[in-house]
């Protein structure tokens, strides 16, 4: 099937700076929701502006539904864009905002009003159709913006940090709303964010951007469970990253001691970085032994202990290093076990 959006080897640099994106390969299938995540300044908004046509790439090709739009004007690309700042037209009523794409396409007044009301019912705002944007809450404004971006059946939906201007509670419900509407309309979507929770919970596929380069592209599970490098591991979720040297085909010498793991395939003596997610570290009390297993058990000293209700995050001194641990267990922690299957090795980046 032809991808709805396809970028091949796209590069762009802001004139006079080193900022931009380089050699981006990215496709979005029809109906797929891809979330692009990265720290601020990594080029994720640049990527969106390139697809929407606000920027023109220095190199590479951009295709929408198979058509080459690399040099096409913004309005010829027919991408529905939702901006962080809502950008509703202040002097137009809610339904007029939603109907605006039809107005510039010369659809008759009666018909465009009817279709705007249909679209507003999709986002659950029919009752507010005669209000002015200034009289709406942030979440409502963003839903109007979403309806407006979808009404003209765009070739792709592009969302630039759509939730970052909302308060925490609204953000959660709006996240669900975006997912629901996106699936109902079955439209290829690129959502830009710097929020890992948003990325993992919303996406069919996540792409991680760093300093203008695409460092990993995979399902939320793949990104979290098999991060490509230490940067991804640390940016998506919490991570224990320990510097070490391979001691054998299935063990590593680290700052906290020797850790056994499944065969890793690195040469003996190679400098690597070891990853263990904090929730995979098992806390042990003084008395309870780990029955039958005695590998990877370490004596620990608690440095910090923060209680979050459902979980507890503990920082532990182990050997010469520090280990983070996340657990629902309430008791004292004196030893921990690192299950060998929870250990991954990452190349030094």
């Amino acid at each position: 099937m032809t991808p709805a959006v396809a970028l091949s080897d796209v590069s762009y640099r802001y004139p006079g700076t080193r900022a931009g994106v380089q050699n981006i390969e990215l496709t979005i299938a029809p109906g797929e929701l891809v979330v692009c995540i990265g720290p601020s300044g990594c080029g994720k908004t640049t990527l969106l502006r390139l697809i929407a046509g606000f920027l023109c790439p220095d190199a590479g090709r951009i295709r929408l539904g198979g058509d080459d739009v690399t040099r096409a004007a913004v309005r010829e690309r027919e991408c529905g864009v939702v901006f962080q700042s809502y950008t509703l037209f202040p002097q137009m009523r809610v339904w007029e905002n939603v109907a605006y794409p039809l107005r510039v396409r010369n659809v008759a007044l009666g018909l465009r009003r009817e279709r705007a009301l249909d679209m507003l019912s999709v986002v659950g705002l029919t009752d507010l159709s005669d209000r002015l944007p200034a009289n709406l809450s942030g979440g409502q404004q963003q839903r109007v913006a979403l309806a407006r971006a979808l009404i003209f059946k765009p070739r792709a939906l592009l969302l630039d940090e759509p939730l970052s201007a909302l308060d925490a509670a609204t953000r959660l419900s709006m996240r669900e709303e975006i997912r629901r509407v996106q699936k109902a309309q079955n439209i290829a979507t690129l959502l830009i964010t710097h929020d890992q929770d948003e990325a993992l919970s919303l996406a069919d596929r996540v792409v991680v951007l760093r300093e203008g380069r695409l460092v990993q592209n995979g399902t939320p599970h793949a990104i979290y469970d098999r991060p490509a490098d230490a940067f991804v591991a640390e940016f998506v979720g919490q991570a224990n990253l320990l510097d070490g040297v391979t001691a054998g085909p299935d063990s590593v010498e680290t700052t906290i001691g020797r850790i056994a793991m499944p065969p890793h395939g690195f040469a003996r003596g190679a400098a690597i970085r070891l990853l263990v997610r904090p929730e995979r570290v098992e806390p042990l009390s003084a008395t309870a032994g780990a029955a039958g297993v005695d590998t990877n058990i370490f004596l620990v000293r608690v440095l910090r202990d923060a209680f979050f209700g459902a979980t507890r995050q503990v920082e532990l001194a182990v050997g010469d290093g520090v280990l983070k641990l996340q657990t629902p267990m309430r008791g004292a922690i004196e030893r921990v076990r690192i299950p060998p299957e929870a250990v991954q090795l990452l190349p030094l980046s």
Binding site: F54, R75, G80
Partner: protein, 263 residues
């Protein structure tokens, strides 16, 4: 207490000349006394029936209206272009250039006009359109300032980007998004332009032809005649200026902000 007295004194100082004009315009006779004697409306009738005053009144209206129209037609696209100029240095330079006439003595411009437009190639001195051209030079900076200040305050770049992505062409964006968003600052800019144009004397006095002298120019002649007549004529100029700003304020629902260029 002191501040109150100072404020009151200042208000009296401001209002006194206008009050005296009003009193004078209804006074029968005013010669070497503090206040005139007798009450009459005859001065207004005389001004209204005076041919040169009527002609001047109409000239002033034409010049002010044409200046407003020209500021709108020239200033709005110019402000839009400036706002979109990608290079900040070009924007700063353009800003410095368009504010230049604010500091330019009207006399200098008038002499320039007289030199250029009395030549055989451009023999247009005395035409009312030349007067309008001069007024545009003086008033455009104020209009541009009012509009560009508002453009920066509103989120216009993003609004336009949104409209563009939704399929709007450049003229559609300009008329659907930009102009409605700027309507308050456009109105307040036009009020300033109209008020300045109606009250302009220096330049008009030198450049206007005999048949299209504006109201302030003719008004000066009135002070060589009867005091009551001069007062009545001045009150009419004041009313004309007040009407312009009242109309502007009403049409924008009282939201007009007077914007003056930053010096």
């Amino acid at each position: 207490m002191l501040t109150r007295w100072v404020t009151a004194a200042y208000l009296v100082y401001l209002a006194a000349p206008i009050a005296l004009l009003l009193v004078g315009s209804f006074g029968e006779l005013w010669l070497n006394t503090l206040l005139p004697t007798g009450i009459t409306g005859k001065w207004y009738v005389e001004v209204a029936t005076d041919g040169s005053f009527r002609r001047a009144f109409i000239s002033s209206l034409i010049v002010a209206t044409a200046t407003c129209g020209a500021c709108l037609a020239l200033g709005l696209p110019l402000a839009y272009a400036l706002f979109h100029a990608p290079n900040p240095r070009i924007r700063a330079l353009a800003r410095a250039l368009y504010q230049l006439p604010v500091g330019l003595p009207a006399l200098v411009l008038a002499f320039g006009f007289i030199l250029v437009f009395s030549s055989d190639t451009l023999p247009w001195l005395g035409s009312i359109w030349l007067l309008v051209a001069g007024h545009i030079v003086f008033t455009l900076p104020y209009f541009l300032q009012a509009v560009t200040a508002d453009m920066q305050r509103l989120d216009l770049l993003n609004l336009e980007a949104a409209a563009e992505s939704l399929g709007a062409t450049m003229p559609q964006r300009f008329f659907h998004i930009i102009v409605p968003a700027l309507k308050h600052s456009i109105m307040s800019g036009l009020i300033v332009v109209a008020a300045l144009s109606i009250g302009e004397f220096q330049f008009s006095n030198l450049v206007a032809g005999f048949l299209n002298r504006t109201y302030p120019v003719v008004l000066l002649q009135a002070f060589y005649g009867a005091t009551g007549f001069a007062c009545a004529a001045t009150v009419i100029l004041l009313l004309l200026a007040l009407t312009a700003s009242a109309a502007g304020t009403l049409s924008t629902g009282g939201k007009a902000r007077l914007a003056l260029p930053a010096q």
